[in-house]
């Protein structure tokens, strides 16, 4: 031990437990959630209130005024208001879709790992089909045929990443089944359901959680892409992608319309991945 060792102070101990990056990564999604929850209170204008005399108004600090801190768009709608509602819409869609795909994928993976043999082959063939179809084109086709509505959009995106969870769960479960603890619990007389849900799932949960935090930003990007193409969230409702899509035409004259939602997407993606990594470490009792 160092001769001049002094025990770490309260502040440095705090930062050891909660690194700055993690604090930021936790803070950003928390802010987004808070903003989504309080959208109705926070927004000074209605989402589709136009102000034609103040069209393409610059944001505050770039020649704009306090009235429209993030500027206005081509119809004089307040960008901040639209951004807040867009965050709510995109976060809700991405959250539900990520959970749908995690549940489907994990279930399929567990079924494959439990039955093995023909069932496993069928399930994995299904996963192969899922991953070999270009999702964007399927989504475009489905949305073009049935028309875009929110429910269909969420379901479609829930079906987008499930095969990743299925493969992961299958592999992890098969190897976990061969490990001592699963066999030990099995020979105690436990039902397979108990072995899977009480023992194997929590043990492989860390990896699944990290996968989920990696796919969550992808889902946001997917929604953004679909909305950008005009097949996602339809006006008058707005989402991050739909804002970017419509803001594209004003990229040269009013870049803030597009930059505001883009910045949100860019910040969200890494912060959620960081949170996932950190959560996995925190949830592992052997690591602290």
């Amino acid at each position: 031990m160092d001769q001049n060792y002094t025990p770490p102070g309260r502040i440095s101990r705090f930062f050891e437990k909660w690194p700055l990056l993690v604090l930021f990564a936790l803070g950003w999604p928390a802010l987004m959630l808070a903003v989504s929850a309080l959208a109705d209170v926070l927004t000074p204008y209605a989402i589709n209130a136009t102000d034609l005399r103040n069209r393409l108004h610059s944001p505050m600090g770039f020649g704009g005024s306090v009235l429209h801190p993030f500027g206005t768009d081509e119809l004089g709608r307040d960008v901040m208001t639209r951004l807040i509602f867009s965050i709510r819409m995109s976060v809700a869609i991405a959250f539900v879709a990520a959970i749908i795909s995690a549940v489907i994928g994990t279930a399929v993976g567990l079924i494959a790992a439990h039955f093995r043999g023909v069932v496993e082959d069928m399930m994995m063939a299904l996963a192969d089909v899922g991953s070999s179809l270009p999702f964007m084109i399927i989504a475009l086709a489905v949305l073009a045929i049935f028309g875009s509505n929110l429910f269909l959009l969420v379901c479609l995106m829930g079906l987008s990443g499930w095969e990743r969870y299925a493969r992961l769960t299958r592999g992890l479960t098969i190897s976990a089944k061969e490990q001592g603890y699963a066999r030990a619990v099995r020979q105690l007389g436990a039902s397979p359901a108990r072995v899977y849900l009480v023992h194997i799932l929590p043990n492989i949960g860390g990896t699944l959680l990290v996968t989920m935090t990696l796919t969550f930003p992808e889902v946001i990007l997917l929604e953004t892409g679909l909305s950008f193409l005009g097949l996602g969230v339809q006006p008058p409702a707005s989402s991050l992608g739909n804002m970017i899509g419509f803001g594209r035409q004003y990229l040269h004259t009013a870049p803030w319309i597009l930059l505001a939602p883009s910045a949100v997407v860019v910040l969200t993606t890494p912060s959620i991945s960081t949170v996932g990594d950190w959560l996995r470490d925190r949830m592992d009792p052997t690591l602290h």
Binding site: Q179, G180, Y181, A184, R186, Q187, L188, A190, T286
Partner: protein
């Protein structure tokens, strides 16, 4: 007295692919090739790779046998997930070689000891906890260990937790698959003493599987020696260790370093020769023939069966039964 656990002609073959990649030849690995035993307090020893752990798995039906069956209290052990299978789980428990991997590292050990009761729906929460605390006390753990995670305990403590979990349901048979070989020698002694104490206290029968002759000699009442998936010699430990009949047993016993002046000083030692053959390609006749100093023509032609000597010792060796000459042959 009926035997608690009877194994009848257990066979377990594995299909394996020989080296050669995609075009490798299919072959059959005879991990276990007709093992029968009955258990009051039995032990199995043998060189590694002879099928000891397979015997453990088969005898409590963790691994389905290729043929043969095991009886518990005169009732065949069910391989399926039905009510009888679950009931039989309560009577026979297994203790594993590596206690850390046998425990779920995410669950405090106290809850893992309560789990068998939960699985079989016994007692309410308070009763389960009281039972778990009592069993943990029985295996010599302190009350504060109840909320610890497996990785926070030492190897010996973990093995005690595994034992406690096995004992929670008051089983009559405990299958111990190398329970002390992963532990330090000092801890080994503690766990062995504990096993002996528990045996007396709860009237347990152990199927104790080990490669460690000293451990086997200390704890067993009846010893079976396995070679390449078969039992080659079986008898009480004193007889087996002091007067081994099978050349393989003799080789194992001679491999244990003895203090000068021990009972075996006048006998010529048999040096271990060679490696056990590939279990995929077992030699014809007696499987021990290529390594045996006594091997004759007969050993190549005919596989010796496990037969009883006049004093009750079971041996599978032509020389021991006097069919070929040898320094180990008994003059009856």
């Amino acid at each position: 007295m009926t035997d608690l656990l009877v194994a009848e002609n257990l066979v377990r073959h594995y299909a394996v692919r020989l080296p050669g990649g995609l075009f490798g030849r299919q072959a059959v690995l005879k991990a276990l090739d007709g093992v029968s035993f009955s258990l009051r307090r039995g032990r199995i020893v043998g060189e590694s790779g002879c099928g000891k752990s397979t015997t453990a798995g088969l005898s409590i039906d963790l691994i389905p046998p290729t043929s043969g069956r095991t009886l518990l209290d005169g009732e065949p052990i069910a391989g399926t997930d039905d009510a009888r299978w679950r009931r039989q789980r309560r009577d026979m428990q297994m203790v594993f070689q590596d206690p850390l991997s046998a425990l779920d590292r995410r669950i405090p050990v106290g809850r893992q000891v309560m789990e068998p009761l939960l699985i079989h729906g016994l007692g309410d929460r308070a009763e389960r906890e009281a039972r778990a605390r009592a069993v943990l006390g029985n295996v010599g753990l302190q009350p504060h260990h109840f909320d610890r995670y497996p990785h926070e305990l030492s190897g010996g403590q973990r093995q005690r937790v595994v034992l406690a979990r096995a004992l929670t349901l008051n089983p009559s048979v405990l299958v111990c698959d190398e329970p002390v070989s992963a532990l330090d020698v000092s801890i080994q002694a503690q766990v062995l003493n504990l096993l002996e104490r528990l045996q007396a206290e709860f009237d347990l029968a152990y199927l104790f599987i080990s490669h460690d002759l000293k451990v086997v000699r200390q704890i067993s009442h009846d010893v079976a020696v396995m070679y390449l998936g078969r039992i080659v010699e079986q008898g009480p430990p004193k007889r087996l260790f002091e007067q081994p009949e099978h050349p393989y047993t003799r080789m194992l016993v001679d491999a244990v370093p003895a203090v000068l002046g021990g009972g075996r000083r006048f006998r010529r030692r048999i040096q271990p020769r060679g490696e056990p053959p590939n279990p995929i390609d077992v030699p014809t006749g007696c499987p021990f023939r290529p390594r045996c100093p006594l091997a004759q023509q007969l050993c190549m032609a005919e596989r010796p069966t496990l037969e009883r000597l006049p004093d009750g010792q079971l041996v599978a060796c032509h020389a021991a039964h006097g069919r070929i000459p040898g320094p180990l042959a008994r003059t009856a």
